[in-house]
Structure formats: C-alpha cells, structure tokens
Amino acid sequence: MTRLVSKVPPGPLEEKWSYYKSHQNLVNPANKRKLDIIVVGTGLAGGAAAASLGELGFNVKNFCYQDSPRRAHSIAAQGGINAAKNYQNDGDSIYRLFYDTIKGGDYRAREGNVYRLAEVSNLIIDQCVAQGVPFAREYGGLLDNRSFGGAQVSRTFYARGQTGQQLLLGAYSSLSRQVKKGTVKLYPREEMQDLVIIDGKARGIITRDLITGELHRHFAHAVVIATGGYGNVFFLSTNAMGSNGSALWQIYKRGAYFGNPCFTQIHPTCIPVHGDYQSKLTLMSESLRNDGRIWVPKRKEDAEALRHGKLRPTQIKEEDRDYYLERRYPAFGNLVPRDVASRAAKERCDAGFGVGETGLAVFLDFADAIGRLGKSAIEERYGNLFQMYEKIVDENPYENPMMIYPAVHYTMGGIWVDYELMSTIPGCFVLGEANFSDHGANRLGASALMQGLADGYFVIPYTIQNYLSSEIRTARISTDKEEFAAAGKQVADRLEKLMSIKGKQTVDDFHKRLGRIMWEYVGMGRNEAGLKKAVGMIQELRQEFWQDVRIPGTMHELNTELEKANRVADFLELGELMALDALNRNESCGGHFREEFQTDEGEALRDDANYAYVAAWEYQGDGKHELHKEVLEYEFIEVKQRNYK
C-alpha cells in the first residue's frame, strides 16, 4: 500500500502547481542532450509531449502504429476544448472549471490533479492560437465559445466540428518542426510490444515493425505511454479500428497499477447500430445537444408505428412527444452530463419507447433551432456533422430528426499515476486517456482534448525533469543487455504461439463475441450476477481463442490479422479485469451504474463511506489481480450528490 503515494504538493489548492514547479528539480540544457525519452503514441498527449520534450532539448523517439503521427485518433474529436478563459464574462473561472470537472466525474478524481488541469487550460488555448489553429471566431475577430454538457457557462473553444483534428494537426506541426531539427525521431508503423525494466526502472521498449515484422529494441532513460483508451474491448465503439489497450496491458503486467478499469464512458449521441457486419460506431458531437432537442413519443403505439415505418417522426404532434431530458432535468435539460443522458436514453428504450428499426434509438431534433436561427446558422455550426450523418444513414437531418443511441466512447480508467503522471514503475509515465487521472467516473464533454494537451504541453515537460534530474549520470544502456534480450524473446515467443494455433475462427469472431459479453454485462447497466457471468464467459472465450484462432501468413511480414490478434489477446484479459473492478465497486457513480444501487428516481447512488477511493489493481501473474486503494480525500470541496435537476 505504501507504493500508492499521490505526491500531491502541500498548500492551498490554487498554489499546489506553482509550489511544485518552484521546488522541483530541473535538468540543465547540456544534460538534456544526453537523455533519451521514448514516447509511445502521437495523439494530443503523445504528440504534444514529444514535441515539447524535443523543444526542451531531450532526445525523443516517438512511435505510432499508423502511417503518420497525424492519424492518431484524437483527430476524430469533434466538439471542442474547454478552458477557463471567461471570455464570455458569464462567470467562469479556474475554480469553476475545476469544480464542474470534479462534480461531473462524480467525485472520483483527485482534487490536486483536476485543479492543475483547469489551471493550465488557459495556456492551451494561447498555445494553440499561436500555432495557427483556426478556432472559430466572432465578427469582431475574437474567439467564439459554445456550451457543452455539465456546465452552465460557455467555455468551449472549437474549430467547426473538427476541433480534435485542428488541435492534433497543431501538435503534429510542432512535432514535425522538432523532427526537422533532429530532436525527435519518428517511428511510424511501429507498435510497442513490451516494456523493458532494468534495476526496477523503465529503460526501453520492444517494438514490432509492422511492415517487415521485425522486432526492435529501443533504450531510453524514461518511457512515456500515451496510447489512448481501451474502449475497443467492446469491439463496437467510437474508437478507431486500431485503437487498443495493449501498451497499457504490457506495462500493467510489468508492474504498473491499473486505476478504475471499469470506468467507461458511454456517449449519448452516436449513430445507432444497423447490422452485424458493422465495424465501428460513429459519434455525433455532443455539441449538437446545444441546439438539438432529444425526444421519444409519449405513446408506445406511436413508437411502434415509427419502428415499422408507418409514421414519420414529423407526424408526431408536439403534445405527443416526450422531451424526457427537459422533463427530468429542467435546470440542465438537454445539456446534462453524458452518463446521465445515456442512461436516460436506455431507460426510455428499455421501457418500449425507442424508435428506429431496432427500437434502440431516440430522436435528436433540430426543427426548433432551424425555426429560431435559420438553416444557414445550423449549417455553419454543424454542417460537417449533418453531412456525415446523411452519408451514413441516408436521411436528411435538416428535414427529419436524427436518430441516436449511446455507444462506448472513452475510458476514464487507465494506468494509475501520481501527480507527476508517473506510474508505479519508476521512469514510466502515462498521459492522456491512457491514465486514470482527471475525469473520475465520468468525463465531461470537451475535456479529453484539454487533458491530452495539458499533460503533453504543460505537465510532463516539468514533471519528467524531476525524475530525469537523478538520471544524468546514467549512460545509455546497450540493447544487447539481458533484460532487453529476455523481453524480446518473450515477445517473439508469444507471436510464434499465436501463429502456431492455426485454428478455425477469425480474430474478429472472437473480438465480436467479447464485445457482446462486455456490452451486455459490463456496459451501461451492470449487476452482480451479470458481472460474475461475464468473468466466466470471458475466461472461457480466452481459452478458446488460444486454441482456435486462425492467423494466415507469417509473422515476418506485414500481417494485419496478427496485429489484430495480438491486441485482442490483451483485450481478452483486460475485459475480465474491467468486470472484476465493476464487481468490486458496490455503488453507482458516473458511468459505472450498478443496477442494485440507485435512488428511487433511478439516479446513480454513490457510497462515499465505502468507495471514495481509486481502485488500483496490481497484476499478480497467471490471471490474478490484487486490489490496492488510494483513498480520495476532499480538502477543498464538499462532496454532494450530483444534481442536474
């Protein structure tokens, strides 16, 4: 238990980060050149970290599985990025952004980390504008803002519906500048396979060149993991096809603790599932809830008729519509946090009021907004989203309401890190969605971009120096050393084992089956019996996988099936840990909804007396996991039941 030290600096909340920065150790410029840092992942967290560490003068090696760093899935974030600028004069402040984030996370995040996030949020906007990110502006030339779920102020900066793209390309530009300068070396299409630990410290990684199949060894004085979330454990999610949890699982097996693995965000506004051939789900930005109104019919007969195409949604009269979010949560209406909106949609559909062919959809209607603001205003705000919807669904959302349903989107859980973003393995840092740190049990919209860039531009460049200052005498270690050889052999053995199975079922067969188990029992509603069942089913499926998966070709060439199998093998273990964590947490909080624990009105019922802690799991080998607890103490805010009514 002594290993779980959060290292949050002393003093008042608003002085902690300043205190840290003025008391930490730094590395002088001459020594920076002698220190190597590996960054895995090139998204907002990884790309920004690699660029910033390169700017400081460290030698950075930056890896991604895609063909270019610009493809990382941060690019798909649509709606925006929060910052406490208070440009709108609507009462925003660093404290309020901090408070909204802690409350939105249902009081399961660390105060010190979240306050720092809110504090550096303003620097991010300054930095991005300086980089040439074309944020939306008003006619006077100043930056525009929009509102997002879980907040009563307009603090979200955006670039049409492509904010993630623009921020990522900003980080990619800075990264490219460092590549040109020679401080960063890029390794695209090269995937991490294992972490190498020497004398208890992270000292490098084993990678696989995805084009040639060769395994490579890379040394560094510190390793930074920024590989995003593990939502693809559900098979169907809004993540990219290649997004995976393998780097996290590798370092977990090497001793990093896994924090709150069961905290998954189900996003309320996604395009509903339409067939079993479906490969992924598409998100419709939460910003749409600014102007769209969510409803289902009041009468089951109408829902039935809509499902069978006997009625058009526009034929349902105003008084026959149930705007259930506005009804249940008058204060926040359609802008309640994501977990609340998702559960409310599920509740209506489970009760028989769902629409769409499958009955698993609700309407998101823009008729009011188009009437109020005109079609062109709506087009300006959401044009590309409407186009995307029309291409996928083949219906015009300007004329008919959109149909949406919740889908897996983000994982708040991740590797446990301290205030310095270091895991329980010295020298192994984890940033962005890959760590557990800032969003508690539920993330508010427009906060993922904020956290990724905060970690990458403004936190790790400081905190990593505190660690590296004691490494300046460590000479570069040869990758011929036995620890590298042993890790390399372990990786090769595993790949050979996968190739040698030569079974009958494809990797996707297994992944889809795992996804169905996860969605059914470890999804939006969880209960003890279901979770126990899921654990058993996943164990059986895992066994079957290692006996019957079929991978064609060889491991010494480009082999997309082997890449997938390697990732699914890890998901088959991670999924079980998620179920175990959900089973342990006998309360409902944020995105984790245990059906046994709810109020009379169907809201999440937290148990602060027993579960106000971070569940940090330690790998014990052989499929065993041990639970450690970091108790969350709230010194500065009062913990309340969330109320969006």
Binding site: P134, E138, P461
Partner: protein
Amino acid sequence: MDLKLKIWRQKNAKSGGRFEKYQVKGISPNCSFLEMLDILNEQLVRSGQEPVAFDHDCREGICGMCSLYINGKPHGPDKAITTCQLHMRKFKDGDTITIEPWRSRAFPVIRDLMVDRYAFDRIIQAGGYISVNAGGAQDANAMPVPKYQADLSMDAAACIGCGACVAACKNASAMLFVSAKVSQFALLPQGRPEAVERVRNMVKSMDEAGFGNCTNTGACEAECPKEIKLTNIARLNREFFNSKVCAETRKAAVFAG
C-alpha cells in the same frame, strides 16, 4: 447484393503486382465500403488465404488513413467523402468493382492497397508549422483575426492528408496538399513572419519527393474528400512568387544597409 471485385494484390514494395478476382454475396446496401472489404477478408481468412491489406483507422472520414482508387476514382464514386464513408448503396447488384492503390512514384506500394505517404510528412517537416515553443504564447485574444480570414484558413486546414489529390492528378502533383497548409498559415497573422521560408522549403521538399507539377486540370479539387479549393493553389503560387521577390528585396536591403 452480389458483387464481383477486381483487386490489386502485391506482396511487397519490391515484388510485382496483379489483379485478382473475388466475389462477395449478400452485401447490405447500408454496409460501408470498408465493411464490405472486411467481409471479403473474413471469407479469405476462413478459406486459408491471405486477406487484402488496406489502410484504414478512424472510419469516420477524418484521420486520412484510408485511400483506395475505386473504379478509377480516388475514394470512389461519391463526392466529398473518404472511402470509409462510402456506402454500398452507391453500387448496384451484380456490379464489378475495381480497386487499386494510389498510383504515384512518390507513394510506393507497401502491400496490396497500402502505400507509403511519408513524403507528405516530410513536406510538413520542411516548413508546415509556426515556430512557437510550448509556454511562450501571448493571450489568445490579444490578436484579433477577421472572421472571414479565419474561416478561409479553416477551409484550408480541413485537409486530411490522404493523398487523393495526388492520386487524382495525371501529373501526380501534390500542389493541393501543399497549398492547403501554406494557405492555412498565410491567411493568419501568426503565420506571416515565416511565410517566405515556409513556402520555399515546402515547395522544395515537394519537388524532391518526386511529385509532378500542377497544370490546372482541377482533378484534385474535384476528388478531394474535404473539398479543398483550387484557389489555394493560386495562393501558393502567389506566396511562392512573393518569396522570391521578398528574398531579393531583403538581400538588397542588407547590401544597401
């Protein structure tokens, strides 16, 4: 619907390639094009053959990883979308669909339908950025930018770097890609201080990579999934011309001083 597929297969960059014929049956019109290829690949793996390798990732039209030359058009027959957003309802039962990789000397084939687009990264590394380190920026609202200018900059910045412009061009020119990045920064006050060096270095890198020249056919604009405008190429040309003039003037100023 049932479809016949003619797909380019190539083991690696060094080996030769050829078209192979395949059939897929019972494809739903709501299926996306890449999901149709998933179905084909599942079929191939089950029958002991190697799947068709193709690039893809986000599958929502923004990462720029997917490519494919479908029936002679980059990203297929539909307008203003990437291959991953193309749906099978755009085809008819019984159609034969020909699928090839991007064709350009600067984008060598890696395997089957995958190509190497690192030349694009190199062009950005040559100058596709504003030189600002993390931490030193002034307040974001200290420098107002006229809305129409910011909007034009955003139009250009929407480029996803997929390479369809190169694939569509008979000269395999990368001018639309380069002009989009040059324009994004040229239109913003933050981008002006380095405008001269940026355009010269990016154009130099583009030429070195072996991309062809622009002859204003407009095929790139017609096929661009993000509808990047040809006017950006005009702006690129002007910026490039200016950079030559400016450089001469600057030199003259130095000598005179």
